[in-house]
Amino acid sequence: MGPFIVQFLTGLSNASALFLVAAGLSLIFGVSRVVNMAHGSFYMVGAYVAYFAISWLPKGGFWFWGGILIAAVVVGLLGTVVEVLLLRRIYRAPELFMLMATFAVLLVIQDLALWVFGAEDLLGPRAPGLDGSIQILGALMPEYDIALILIAPLVLVGLWFLLNRTRWGVLVRAATEDREMLAALGVNQKRLFTGVFFLGSFLAGLGGAVQLPKGGADLLMDLNVIAAAFVVVVVGGMGSIPGAFLAALILGELTSFGVLFIPQSTLVMMFFVMAVVLVIRPYGLLGKPEGVEHTVSELAQWPLRKASRKLRVTGAVLAAVLLAFPLFAGSFQLILIGEIAMFALACMSLFFITGPGGMVSFGHAAFFGGGAYAAALFVHHVNTPMELALLLAPTCMALLALVIGWFCVRLSGVYLAMLTLAFAQICWAVVCQWGRFTGGDDGVLGIWPSPWAGNEVIFYYLAIIISGGGILALRYLLFTPFGYAMRACRDSRLRAAAIGIHVRRRQWYSFAVAGMFAGLAGGIYVFSKGSVFPYEMSIPRSFDILLSVLLGGIHSLSGPVVGSAAFIGLEDLISRVHFWRLILGSIFILLVVCFPQGIAGYFSARFAKEPGDQEAGSERSG
């Protein structure tokens, strides 16, 4: 019996740690709708600051907890600085842009942390007075875990009191319910948002600091914790603090006992739970559905227009330049341009559902990497020729997207995005674990093009034609009745349904189309690299694609192409220098602040005054 009780208590202490990180994230999202990717970085900074504060302060229990509190306050102030200097400028930009801004903060903090805190992993100090263990029916349980189990409910009660019994809390809850109404009533939102950001970051820092005696501080903590924190927030219901607590409890216990009964489950347990919860309860355990018409997409203000004559000419010139490129470019430029083209197709397919489709996906790499794997596995196992593999890859991914999409289109907003993430993670785990079939982490090697396409110039043409063709096909689709119906579903579900469009089915099909073209991009990509590894399906890969789309601008049809060129170009440019994440992050921040519509979006808005040009930036759809 003892071991089971201890396993249960261990699960509780894990739950506590999870709750502390997730609470701040949920609070920030609830009020400001910022999907804060930098939350994990605040957690990491909290751990480092607490480490140095505790080793600098005198020894003893009082100073230990004092050091933890100092770290939490420092991180809270850091969050405040980020909010005031960066986020405040872009609250009016689409939600996705705030995602990009916070992602940029994450990149910047990664390199700054390496620079300030050093490369070596730090082992956390033990808590004075709580550094032993107690006997529970013959099994030992660390005292600090017991303390952790008590901290989370204390924080929960404290937050409940703050939100329900103070005026500030009432305002925060009002902002969570309806921001516009609160502003109309004359409440200073700026100060409120800054306060919430301080509190949320404070909690992240606290979470990082109190886990020190359970582990330590290292430079990978930020990315390792952020996915778990998002899972807890979404399972609990975005913006709901008690929901986050409940979700943390469930996830903490399930992972603890999962380790005991299914040791291999560690890769995927959390995401599996999230997928199940979201399928059954689309708004999380304690979340509330958002008002449907309340979230009319900002994108409705930028209706897509067919290509003007000028654009067609430019496109033709671009195509001619690309086709003539091998005449004057070195072989590496060909490879780089080819890669940009393939990546642009993947970006275009994500743009297709995210922009005109209104469904943000955090898991698009499942289809891109999945296409690469489908092609590679056909070649590897049944010696499929390249030409056939390039047909089979998109077909398989269309089928996969039909399965995943069937669940996802029942949701909307961040919940939908997180469900795509969960499915992508499940696909990734399957590829990692099913070593006999997929090669596991060692990947599939030796997937090179057919002999006739082995020459780099021919392969360049192949890549350009497939990618360009895919991009044009997606573009064409947007101006067919299918595309118009899809955009109608995004702009107003109710009205679209009223005129007889089956909203969910339309979204389901568009999801499948996007999956198919991402699969095509992945299929051609694998032949250019010769090998594929689970990394191509992982979360960072999904974010590469998403960031490129945002970089180009979500308003503009040329956004994905421009974004892909900029992303791959930047990545190539700065992989030569140290601290490149700092540079990349700074560029992102600059872009977000100066070009809130993305690069291509900026130019369309800038030159919109010219008569007859493509997108009239300021025109409203009413």
């Binding site: 582990g215 005991l260 496109g315 490879i335 940009i340 090998s531 490149w580 010219e610």
Partner: protein, 403 residues
């Protein structure tokens, strides 16, 4: 006009990229080699590693270079992405015209480069990746590997572990290729030496996301007499701390891969485990002349002590330099032939690149951990020479595809 400008931006970016990529050396006066590693991650390995190879390059160039030419290294960061590594390799080979490629840490990045080397007939020396597949199942004519593989290190530990009377064993390893290979090899070799041994539990925490408390409880439930651990870095620290607090290590024989390397042992400080059987690098106690010379030079240049990564980086460049001296030029076929059977002196003594599978015989140190002045160190260690821990020639031939 809009699109024209955008196109111009794209092209401008590529031209800037092209301009920056111009090699810094003058052709003819230098031999340029390409180096790729994951510098932006795993800094506790890659920074000492970079120090190591830079020291070797400096020493070689100060003593006249290679056949009168300077050795120049173009170093790039792959960010841990295999696709990026292949792209960088294309660029190094096609634009920078490097003579050969070397480096990388992660096995999957190493395997991607292995495949690239095969297809493009480029010489590639994998420095750190431990995957067995790199020289065996996926091995090829153009790829060589420096570090002792997962199999070799597991074999070194299994040999010593077999002497322990423990019969009930459990394993814990990160849930990816390295962990799985390390467990598979260890189980196979230990069972061959000790048929009475049985494995009663296998835990697979996610890499760098270990839930140490739960894993320890799950291991304790199986009540093994001995445990083979493959977790490292931050996971290891958590595993050690929770294990101590929960009294798990008491009376159990612990065997642990890589734990004796300063990269992983030093962060544990006073909490370093005692009495664990580990592979590692006791730089403080190695008194051979070759190592002392290296140690002094390293300390002088960096005012720091070397880690295992430093030796890997240092040996990597030494190997390449000796190979280039033997080959006489940078023709890939001649370089491959020069590397096969090449023996070069290193801080760990002479190392040979085997002709049969292109694995080097670089070994590692096997010993027990203990605490000394509040720091974890290795005691009763010995150098395990890699050549004694590789399977027989017939088996190697069956593992490796024909060229």
């Amino acid at each position: 006009m809009r699109v024209v400008r955008i196109v111009m931006i794209c092209f401008a970016m590529n031209f800037i990229a092209a301009a920056l990529a111009v090699p810094l050396s003058f052709a003819g006066g230098a031999i340029t080699v390409g180096e790729i590693n994951t510098y932006s991650k795993l800094t506790n390995f890659t920074i000492p590693y970079r120090n190591g190879w830079r020291l070797a390059v400096e020493e070689i160039n100060n003593s006249g270079g290679i056949g009168g030419k300077k050795l120049e290294v173009i170093s790039r960061d792959d960010a841990g992405k295999p696709g990026n590594a292949v792209k960088i390799a294309e660029e190094l080979v096609r634009r920078d015209k490097v003579a050969l490629l070397m480096g990388s840490f992660f096995s999957h990045v190493g395997l991607a480069l292995t495949d690239f080397a095969k297809r493009n007939r480029v010489f590639y020396l994998a420095a750190e990746p431990l995957s067995d597949a790199l020289v065996w199942a996926k091995g090829n004519r153009y790829t060589f590997r420096l570090r002792p593989s997962t199999y070799m290190q597991a074999a070194m530990l299994a040999e010593e572990a077999a002497k322990n009377p423990a019969r009930r064993w459990a394993t814990i390893a990160p849930n990816y290729a390295y962990g799985k290979d390390a467990v598979k090899s260890f189980v196979r070799i230990l069972k061959a030496k000790r048929p009475d041994v049985q494995f009663v539990a296998a835990q697979w925490p996610a890499l760098f996301k270990i839930d140490a408390g739960s894993e320890i409880q799950a291991l304790a439930k199986a009540d093994p007499q001995a445990v083979y651990n493959v977790t490292f870095s931050g996971d290891l620290a958590k595993f050690v701390r929770e294990g101590k607090l929960r009294g798990f290590f008491k009376g159990r024989f612990m065997v642990s891969l890589l734990t004796g390397e300063p990269e992983y042992l030093d962060p544990l400080r006073g909490e370093a485990p005692e009495g664990w059987l580990v592979t590692g690098y006791p730089w403080y106690d190695i008194k051979t002349r070759a190592h002392t010379r290296f140690l002094e030079a390293y300390r002088k240049k960096y005012n720091d002590y070397p880690r295992m990564g430093s030796v890997v980086g240092y040996n990597m460049v030494l190997a390449v330099a000796s190979m280039l001296n033997r080959a006489g030029d940078t023709n890939t076929d001649r370089m491959v032939r020069a590397m096969e059977g090449l023996t070069f002196p290193s801080p760990f003594g002479p190392i040979t690149f085997r002709k049969i599978d292109h694995q080097s015989t670089m070994g590692t140190f096997v010993g027990y951990t203990t605490l000394k002045n509040g720091k974890g160190v290795m005691r009763d260690w010995r150098y395990a020479d890699g050549r004694e821990y590789l399977p027989g020639d017939a088996e190697v031939r069956s593992l490796r595809p024909r060229d």
